[in-house]
């Protein structure tokens, strides 16, 4: 096949692709009739999927459509309840990632599966059995250099993984696959943590892999990416295949959107331009360290007023988590000040901040979400139990608590058999509803919401965005941190971008443009 530069009219990426496609071949991977059930939900319902060699095949669908589940089955992390998998025409049993790896299948997960305290070389050595028993890391370093050279993936083999940026970690993940010469590469939402520049580099690399005859499965929920890098696309909706292996030239974005969502996308919620009041949160010159002692927040200053939503956009890993934790009292800043309603709360523990009316919607729902063994009611009162009428003297007023919880459950639409049911049995969306109910029930002055709709299905996402806007109308100040640029644009009154620990320019939402924001996210310049 010939080899020349080819600029696709639909993309702005210069791709290095072969002219013409390889003739129709036997599929590399064929998944037939795959069904996977979890308690309460059917994640994959009789799904068929096919991957040809030399193609980039996009697997498209909303959050919760079953894309990751399907690929986890292919990679051996889950076992299907029904169906079978064929590799190059032969039926195979994939009981664990070991089997998948042996068959030449590799996966780069959405949340990187790298061991943080080990070095890059040790991580890759772990994945590579030929590295042997003695001094495997050293042996692997040569191979890493070789492959990195070939594909332009630069990384320091001696660095410990926790020291790397998100983009570098992804490079290590891909190196892991290459060093094992994986023929089938699965990438799960790889661009979530990349700047636009890094994303284009990734796409170029993927097309190189495809040219070599490898097969690439690219999981995404972003339509534009499908058109930038994929050859064919399969669409999943609520666990079922609604479009299988469509050539990308043969379909339009609007059609794909409709297939993905099953209905017309609702127009953006109408947001009335509010009149912000007094300053609720003021952050001045804040500096904070990460868990490992490196400076993660560098001299950040901004303010949030009553009745406004201040959105901080940015690729994860640029210090947002540390900033939020410093504001809510979970992390002691090393310099600078945090003022809530004019009062200096720098470095004070969360107990103080709770008293001042600060609500926190945490990013890590699994860790900070609920107390699973306690009931829904006991979880709901977590922010308010100290005051009457919840508590009289040292005693809790259980009757009042029960009635109050029932009202809250109804108001926020939390699906649960009763307020005495353990909170651990709630689904993700309901947990988030509980968290919001709990946090908002104390009538806070400031809401700090960190990636509030991350990983939720469409209904829950819409409801939470609606709730945030409602609180804004009621005069609450909201600090919203999110990777989802659409969410930031939709909800915020003012927007700032966080890049490598610094806050880059603060704009009014009306003036902000998605492209410009993307540039700021990657370059850090106004």
């Amino acid at each position: 096949m010939e080899h020349r530069f080819y600029i696709s009219p639909r993309t702005s990426v210069v791709s290095d692709v072969a002219v013409g496609r390889p003739p129709a071949q036997e599929p590399l991977v064929k998944m037939e009739g795959i069904t996977k059930r979890f308690p309460g939900v059917v994640a994959n319902d009789n799904v068929d999927f096919e991957l040809l060699p030399g193609e980039v095949h996009a697997l498209l669908g909303e959050n919760g459509a079953g894309k990751t589940t399907l690929m986890n089955i292919l990679y051996g992390l889950y076992r299907p309840d029904e169906g079978r998998i064929l590799l190059r025409g032969r039926e195979v049993r994939i009981r664990s990632p070991r089997d998948a790896i042996k068959l030449g299948i590799g996966m780069v997960h959405q949340h990187f599966r790298l061991v943080p305290t080990l070095t890059v070389a040790e991580n890759i050595a772990l994945a590579l059995e030929e590295a042997g028993f003695l001094f495997p890391a050293r042996k692997v370093e040569a191979r890493i250099a070789e492959v990195a050279e070939q594909y332009g993936l630069k990384v320091d083999p001696g660095a410990r993984v926790w020291q790397l940026s998100a983009g570098e970690k992804q490079r290590v993940e891909i190196l892991k696959l290459l060093v094992r010469d994986a023929r089938v590469l699965i990438l799960d939402e790889p661009t979530a943590v990349l700047t636009p520049r890094e994303r284009d580099d990734l796409f170029k690399t993927l097309r190189k892999f495809a040219y070599e005859g490898r097969g690439i499965i690219f999981i995404t929920h972003k339509l534009d990416e499908v058109f930038k890098v994929a050859d064919r696309v399969t669409v999943l909706r609520k666990g079922r295949v609604v479009a299988s292996g469509l050539p990308v030239e043969a379909v339009s974005p609007a059609e794909l959107a409709r297939l993905m969502v099953g209905r017309e996308l609702k127009p953006r919620a109408e947001k009335r331009f509010g009149a912000p009041g007094g300053v609720v949160l003021e952050v001045r010159g804040l500096c904070a360290l990460s868990d490992r002692g490196m400076m993660a927040v560098k001299d950040v200053s901004f303010e949030v007023r009553e009745g406004e939503i201040f959105g901080i956009a940015g690729v994860a890993g640029n210090g947002q988590r540390e900033l939020v934790e410093a504001i809510v009292g979970l992390r002691k800043p090393v310099k600078g000040r945090v003022l809530i309603g004019g009062r200096d709360v720098t470095g004070k523990p969360p107990a103080e901040l709770a008293k001042l009316g600060v609500a926190y919607i945490p990013e890590d729902r699994a860790r900070y979400g609920v107390v699973p063994d306690l009931s829904v009611a006991e979880n709901l009162i977590l922010k308010v139990y100290r005051r009457p009428p919840f508590k009289r003297g040292p005693f809790l007023n259980t009757q009042f608590i029960k009635e109050w919880s029932e009202k809250l459950v109804a108001e926020y639409g939390i699906t649960t058999p009763g307020v005495d049911a353990p909170a651990g049995s709630l689904s993700g969306g309901n947990v988030q509803r509980l968290v919001l109910a709990r946090e908002l029930s104390m009538r806070p002055k400031l809401v700090v919401a960190s990636h509030p709709t991350h990983g939720l299905d469409v209904a829950a996402t819409e409801y939470i965005r609606f709730l945030l806007l409602e609180q804004r109308e009621k005069g609450m100040g909201i600090l919203l941190v999110s990777e989802d640029l659409d969410e930031i644009l939709e909800l915020s009154d003012r927007i700032a971008v966080m890049h490598e620990g610094r806050l880059v320019s603060v704009l009014d939402a009306a003036e902000a443009d998605a492209g410009e924001l993307g540039l700021m996210m990657s370059r850090g310049a106004a």
Partner: protein
């Protein structure tokens, strides 16, 4: 390295339950108990003892005679006191393994008061004074591990255990040294405490009822604390999700210290009871603490950390300890062997708990991952 899965045609898989099954909460502990007793009998059989004879004789003596029942009660009292405190601490995930030492310090305080500080005080002064001093001494013994955990996150299992050993040595020092009795014919004991300091008993038995009343009262009080107060709520939240508790404004340091001090104090009360109600003098430390601090862990865990249920489990384990004493007398089995029961019961309990949160499912594994299996 290659690890081959077991080549059986079926496999067991654990699946998380969506709802709690009420009947299991009682069935699992009872089932674990039964399993533990069966396993223990196997061990006894392997050592050449007839388990049925051992169980039969000892249990009939304990439950069949009034002295046996009184003996059971005597063992149950300190167990209940210690276990109630442990129920609170364990709920907060504060692993206080130092109840033995805290109990001993309670005994030491009581002995010191009765023998040296106020030997002539009338009963209505000395007895309450001993209990107060015992509570404070037990709590004080728990203070160092509490502070170390609260401030530096030092593993409290190890520190409280070390305090146990130091307590043993302290008592040894006292009985061989400065507190050695004048009328003991060379044995390392203190003198007997004055009559006025001896706790009154239920007529016709040896059961020292003030401690009994204290034990029952503390069980009720602890239940109220855990279920109806803000402090109990904070303990449950912190024990269930420490990160969330901290983010919600609960101060972990305060909770840890309160839980340790309370459980230490309750163990100290048990120590007062043992000294002033049972032994009436300070002797070899392990004769006084007799493993109550460790057995109380079983009592608390068997009762699933519920203070009221603790009463039942304290009676049960009291019976077990009483049986232990009888086994030593009748069959020449060392008293420490009662730990076999402790260990087996706890192991079976902790293993059985998986059934409360997971369901076992039989899956046809050999036929291939892609084929489904029936559920159990």
């Amino acid at each position: 390295m290659r690890w081959r899965p077991l080549g059986f045609p079926i496999a067991l898989r654990l699946e998380r339950r969506l709802e709690e099954e009420g009947w299991l909460k009682a069935a699992v502990p009872l089932g674990s108990l039964a399993l533990a007793l069966v396993l223990a009998s196997l061990i006894f059989a392997a050592q050449g003892l007839n388990p049925l004879a051992v169980y039969g004789i000892t249990f009939s003596r304990i439950f069949g005679t009034s002295t046996g029942l009184a003996f059971l009660l005597l063992k149950a009292i300190p167990l209940l006191l210690c276990a109630v405190g442990l129920a609170l601490a364990f709920r907060a995930q504060v692993w206080n393994i130092g109840a033995e030492g805290q109990l001993l310090l309670g005994s030491v305080a009581a002995a010191g008061l009765a023998l040296f500080v106020m030997p002539n005080a009338p009963p209505y002064v000395i007895i309450p004074a001993m209990f107060v001093a015992g509570f404070l001494a037990g709590a004080g013994w728990a203070l160092l591990p509490a502070v170390l955990k609260a401030k530096l996150n030092v593993n409290e299992v190890i520190t409280t255990l070390m305090m146990n050993y130091i307590a043993y040595k302290l008592v040894e020092y006292l009985i061989y040294g400065p507190w050695r009795g004048k009328a003991t014919w060379g044995f390392p004991f203190t003198d007997l405490i004055p009559e006025s300091a001896v706790l009154p008993v239920i007529p016709g038995t040896d059961v020292h009822y003030p401690t009994l009343i204290l034990a029952l009262a503390s069980a009720v009080a602890m239940f109220v604390l855990m279920e109806k107060t803000g402090l109990g709520y904070e303990v449950k939240v912190y024990g269930g999700n420490p990160d969330l508790a901290r983010a919600a404004g609960i101060r972990p340091g305060k909770l840890i210290i309160i839980c340790m001090l309370l459980s230490g104090g309750l163990a100290g009360l048990a120590g007062v009871g043992e000294l002033a109600g049972v032994h009436k003098r300070l002797k070899y430390p392990w004769a006084i603490s007799a493993g109550y601090g460790f057995t109380a862990i079983i009592v608390a865990w068997l009762a699933r950390l519920n203070p009221i249920t603790n009463v039942l489990t304290a009676l049960f384990m009291g019976a077990l300890l009483a049986a232990g004493s009888m086994m030593r007398a009748s069959f020449n089995i060392p008293y420490a062997s009662v730990n076999i029961f402790n260990g087996l019961i706890l192991t079976c309990l902790v293993a059985g708990e998986v059934l409360l949160r997971y369901r076992i499912r039989l899956v046809a594994a050999g036929a291939g991952a892609e084929q489904g299996g029936g559920s159990a």
